[in-house]
Symmetry: C2
């Protein structure tokens, strides 16, 4: 039987359940430990979070008995990746509070649902259309024009499940390339740069925001996040408003990442930003908060889901975070020698190509007072 | 058979063995995890470090087989408290490198050995004498005058095993109060304040220092550490010289804390500082480095014992660290709400009187460029 939703704060010594054993789970576990909270990680394979969690359990995401055991051993459940099966989250929600609520997963796991949700809120998104066959794609492409991007509705991250359609593209080949999956076609906007809002919302609905980083991607993977972004304060406020609107609509609890396109200063001020996608979790573009803020995005997430006061999201330093991808992490001895660089390695055994192995955050004195 | 001393750096994925399961071990384990290193904690009782270590083992410090198993499971051994039995450290040193070397324990476990070692190096210490009976104490007291402090040679920390002898004190009662143990009588200096040097020395002998905090004690327990201390640069350099001299003499590897009395600006510049005692480990007065430096004392210790580059010890913020002792930690909800305060709780179950339960570090903008 479902327990009544409880808004009381978890006392130090309580245990937070984390679905997923990757580096985000690892950094969540370390943030929880800072506050005297224990963690129990559940994942279908062992990973970086297993090294630092108080307790770990390997199990399938559809092993209902194992999940129930796990649920009963913790006081609240959260997740570190948005492809947690919805049935898994719903099963656990019968046993313990799941934060953010499974609804956030439902929205962000399906690009069509997500886009319809966002545009329904009046949040600006790129023109999009639902597609399930080459004819749909061709029709939408004609409407939006090339270049456009075909994105599978489900299981896309780090640029996977996406094909760009240039003028004269073979629509059938693109349909094959995404595995003939249900998809959306989305007009590719000509943007100046990418930004993200890292927001956190408490159980009681209060909101806080980190400074907005400017993000650079390479091969569909985040390469670099920089704060400050130099975004005018009024535009930052606009971005925060979008994130607040989304978080409130979902009655969201925890850290929410909202990825944005910045169309640049030449467009009209209130039409400058477009939301690309949301992630219902701590986010790679917020890793700099570990070293540049008194309270990191990971601690903010833990505080929110544990019913604690959110705390202060101000930063004390300028920061540039760079991901260490694949064999780049093998250069750890040199990376460890650079002054004012904070090196983070995730303890992954194999430095496979395209794999996020760690990150480095360079700290600099504040160049401007954070907004 | 002992392995040859190895100065090669441990690669990420290697395991650091930690003797002791308290909060210092906990923060060491978290620092190791940041660098992709695993930890194995060995302790005679479970404690705060058990929640975050990759592996844990409960065992007696004289269970030679268990210790040998533990030693073989790790690549290097360190310790988080200076009362690790010397025989334990020596036993492990036959199996794996122990850093800092057991010699550092031998010196710091015995106040007489420590004082003789320090004065032998020409490092200024308070006048002291070895005592083993009331007559010795009376004689030394007559020589130094009251007030003086009777300190048992072994197992003293947080003010335990100490009695102050005021004028007219009952020498026999004082001898009883320290359990009739071998002791030293030490002249109580009239000092302006207490300071500490947190130094780190690499396997190859390079040295780095954190800014010197000013420390306040209450009931023999550290209450507060503040940086900057306002100590003139020339005096800071003098303090660093003492720490360097001590670390070099011990061929020390890791973080070394040197507690100092500052006799105040009225005394002659080069006679202003007196060394009180040393601790061959990370130190409570260095906890502010977690939040105010790119690289904390814990990470510096891990880097040193793992043969990594030491990294930069500069701080980016002014800081004031305050210990949460006993029931003070029960106020965690309010403590978590104060802006720019970094809250750390150690996960201890019982908030016993006098027990260090956590700490809070307040960050402020740099008031001056660190020296």
């Amino acid at each position: 039987m479902a327990e009544p939703a409880c808004t009381a704060a978890l006392a130090p010594g309580a245990t937070i359940g984390i679905l997923g054993g990757g580096q985000l789970g690892r950094m969540l576990a370390m943030a929880a430990a800072r506050l005297g909270l224990k963690t129990h990680v559940y994942s279908d394979e062992s990973g970086p979070a297993f090294d630092v969690a108080t307790e770990v359990r390997r199990g399938a995401y559809d092993d209902w008995d194992a999940l129930a055991d796990f649920g009963r051993s913790v006081q609240v459940v959260t997740y570190e990746f948005e492809n947690v099966p919805l049935a898994t989250a719903n099963h656990l929600a019968e046993i313990r509070p799941v934060r953010p609520a499974p609804q956030a997963l439902a929205v962000s796991q399906d690009r069509l649902t997500e886009k319809e949700f966002l545009s329904g809120l009046g949040v600006p998104v790129a023109p999009f259309a639902s597609t399930s066959c080459p004819a749909d794609i061709a029709k939408a492409l004609q409407s939006f024009g090339a270049p456009s991007i075909l994105k599978s509705r489900r299981f896309g991250y780090d640029g996977k499940g996406q094909v760009t359609l240039e003028p004269g593209a073979d629509v059938a080949a693109a349909f094959d390339a995404i595995g003939k999956a249900p998809a959306i076609l989305e007009k590719r906007l000509s943007f100046a740069r990418e930004l993200s809002v890292i927001a956190v919302r408490s159980i009681k609905g209060s909101l806080a925001f980190y400074d907005i980083p400017c993000n650079t991607h390479e091969n569909g993977i985040l390469r670099r996040s920089v704060v400050p972004s130099g975004l005018p304060p009024a535009v930052q406020t606009e971005a925060h408003k979008f994130a607040a609107c989304i978080a409130n609509a979902l009655d969201y609890v925890g850290v929410l990442a909202v990825e944005l396109f910045d169309l640049g200063p030449t467009s009209r001020q209130n039409e400058r930003l477009v939301v690309n996608e949301i992630a219902p979790r701590v986010h790679n573009s917020g890793h700099w908060t570990i070293d540049a803020c008194a309270i990191s995005q990971f601690e903010s997430h833990v505080r929110a889901i544990a019913g604690w006061p959110l705390g202060c999201t101000a930063r004390h330093s300028d920061a540039e975070m760079q991901n260490l991808i694949g064999p780049e992490a093998l250069d750890w001895q040199n990376l460890a020698s650079v002054p004012r660089h904070c090196l983070h390695l995730y303890g992954k055994r194999e430095a496979r190509v395209g794999r996020k192995m760690g990150h480095v955050t360079r700290l600099d004195s504040l160049s401007e007072q954070p907004v």
